[in-house]
Symmetry: C2
Subunit: 405 residues, 2 copies
């Protein structure tokens, strides 16, 4: 085993010890978080530690204010129509299930794309099996790009819902949500958008993309802790959308049925107020830093990485060429058929470079780009990554490419 070189200067605030630790799995969970995130969580745990909306005493009201402020941040970020159009969930998977299972009715026709995460495909396959819905998967090209005209051709008069990701979690391709949103509107279909890979990086305007449900996760580019996420819902969808979970809302407690009031309808049970406190701090960091700055930095890292990998040779690169067509998630394959799981293992064990190999919960995307079932080696860059870290990882890949991978 070669000696482990030091990372090229990528000091990681608050994360890792003396050994080099280069984290390139930001598409799974962003790391590190801005320090304000943990500070907000500590504040909740030490000074509040009560349920929001469940009592009239000080600490419960403090908890309510935390949730209110987080809702306001989400509203600001996505230009949501109203505070009450923002609902919090445990993660984006829950939000997508709530939207899909809540809006799609037995026998409905649904249109989706061939780069969806299992958080979209699995609920659709479940509803296909259980409720006889019909699903049309619109094919993306080999780079993971979608032609909105293909969506238009897939639409039927009875199409009730279009659900799609804003960017592929495998190759980072950005999909034309605004164009597809217009198609959905033309056909009077609900439009559900999964922003797991774009919220906090790209500018997303809820109304401008014509969304009915914009599902987001807190723990990726919104810089919040895991256990947070949610959705923004249009008023036309909110009325028709069934809640996935029914229970105590702290409101209309005399009713034995779920209230229709927003956001209570979709927020049963005790909320993750400590996580939501962290999420609000994360979104505030994103808003004050600026999406453009974040996006530009991450894209420049991705470009630098792609250029570096191309230079050393021996690897395939997936996804769109143009930096403007992608977020900073890059999938790599081996031209010599190297075992990618082993490569990921050695990058971590020998160089401290943490990346993920496999299918990344998106079997369809791999069929689309031709990497099923072996998967890819995924490098996903975050705002706190540096050029030195990218160069270091490229050198590590180059070194491993010369050994018997």
């Amino acid at each position: 085993m070669p000696s482990r070189p030091r990372a090229g200067g990528g000091a990681r605030p608050g994360v890792g010890g003396g050994a080099p630790s280069v984290y390139f799995d930001n598409a799974a969970t962003s790391n590190p978080k801005p320090p304000q995130v943990l500070e907000a969580m500590e504040h909740y745990m030490k000074k509040v530690c009560a349920s929001p909306g469940r009592g009239g005493y000080r600490w419960s009201l403090d908890a309510g204010r935390i949730v209110y402020q987080a809702r306001a941040k989400v509203r600001e970020l996505f230009n949501a129509p109203a505070l009450e159009s923002v609902a919090f969930t445990m993660n984006v998977t829950y939000a997508l299930n709530c939207a899909i299972q809540g809006l799609v009715r037995p026998g409905d026709h649904v249109v989706t794309t061939s780069v969806e995460h299992n958080s979209v495909i699995r609920p659709l396959r479940f509803m296909q099996e259980a409720y006889g819905i019909q699903v049309t998967v619109v094919q993306c090209d080999g780079r993971g790009m979608l032609d909105p005209d293909d969506v238009r051709r897939a639409m039927r008069p009875e199409t009730r819902t279009v659900v799609m990701t804003h960017a592929s979690n495998v190759v980072g391709s950005v999909l034309p949500v605004a164009e597809v949103g217009r198609v959905a509107q033309e056909f009077g279909a609900f439009f559900i958008v999964d922003t797991a890979q774009t919220a906090g990086v790209l500018d997303i305007d809820f109304a401008a993309i014509g969304a009915d449900v914009l599902a987001f996760t807190g723990h990726k580019s919104l810089m919040g802790p895991p256990g947070t996420g949610g959705f923004v819902v249009s008023s036309r969808a909110a009325g028709e959308m069934r809640p996935l979970v029914h229970g105590g809302t702290g409101s209309r407690s005399h009713l034995e049925t779920q209230p229709e009031d927003l956001p209570d309808k979709f927020e049963s049970g005790t909320m993750n107020t400590v996580g939501i406190a962290g999420l609000a701090a994360g979104i505030e960091f994103v808003l004050s830093t600026g999406l453009e700055r974040i996006c530009e930095h991450e894209r420049s890292l991705a470009r630098r990485f792609v250029d570096g990998v191309r230079e050393i040779g021996g690897f395939k690169l997936y996804g769109p060429e143009a930096p403007g067509q992608r977020v900073a998630t890059v999938s790599v394959g081996s031209e010599r058929g190297a075992d990618l799981a082993n490569l990921a293992y050695r990058l971590d064990a020998e160089y401290g470079v943490m990346v993920r190999s496999g299918l990344h919960c998106s079997p369809l995307a791999h069929r689309t780009i031709g990497t099923f079932p072996e998967g890819t080696l995924r490098f996903s860059f975050g705002y706190f990554n540096t050029e030195d870290e990218v160069d270091y990882a490229v050198r590590a890949l180059a070194a491993l490419a010369t050994t018997d991978m």
Copy 2:
């Protein structure tokens, strides 16, 4: 406004400022938490901050170990049949919905009790409306106690599920889950138990009470942060129970359908690993402190409070008399018809005593004890409360009783 006296010595570790803060809403969220809980959360945020089961690199494996250890703690606490029989959710409401919606089929007959929280009643009412299930609500007595023979009489050959709480969140009455579990088993029905008010206080043995699903929340007597909870599921129920949420599990990623493996089947999407880290520390605190010690302390506080309130007069006390029949949640009413919301407000504003008034998300329980729709004033004591705090609250109640409430 009278000057605000100091709490009688109830120093609150890490919570509150100079003003007296006497927190008696532990049935909503326990406060404070043992310091180890926040320490475990900080460790995750600073040293791990990755997704469990989603990568093979160090920090992802560290995250996986955190979840594994939490599962082991839950297993130990409830004597769960296996590690994989423990699934984590955002809260107990989600866990109960997963069990109820996952097990009950269209047309089924379900038996429940008249002291259930809306987290049980609302999903049942939803399924009644949407899927034509039949629901029999077994009447508890005016103290909130349940006769298991009444459950037996409610059973039908086609009864598929019995779902009930272990203790009322309004009056603290402990229900005979083991006896009801035997009835359910006789009829071959699934038995779902809501331990929101008892886990971490009473000794609960999954097999001994004959449970198929034991739903728990993390943020009450298990001392964890909000945003945590889950369930233990029997192998016979796990096979039949549908997941509520379908999505990425980090396992069998080639499948476009939800895997049947446990616990993955019920754990889609990124987990709340930071919350789960805190929950593990909370359960460890409970296990090392000892359930008996916790329960005895809380019951003695409840007894002291009941005795004190009885002595000052003018208030009604609900729930069972015998300390062994209750947990430390006490509901109070006014014999003079005082406005309980105003009383709660004044207890907080003038004395720093934080309690909750209203229906506590349990309209049925209030119909049962005769306090619908006005509700009750609920005092719920936790392990960190002291006798001095109880005495102080009784004095505050006595002082307010003499004013024009």
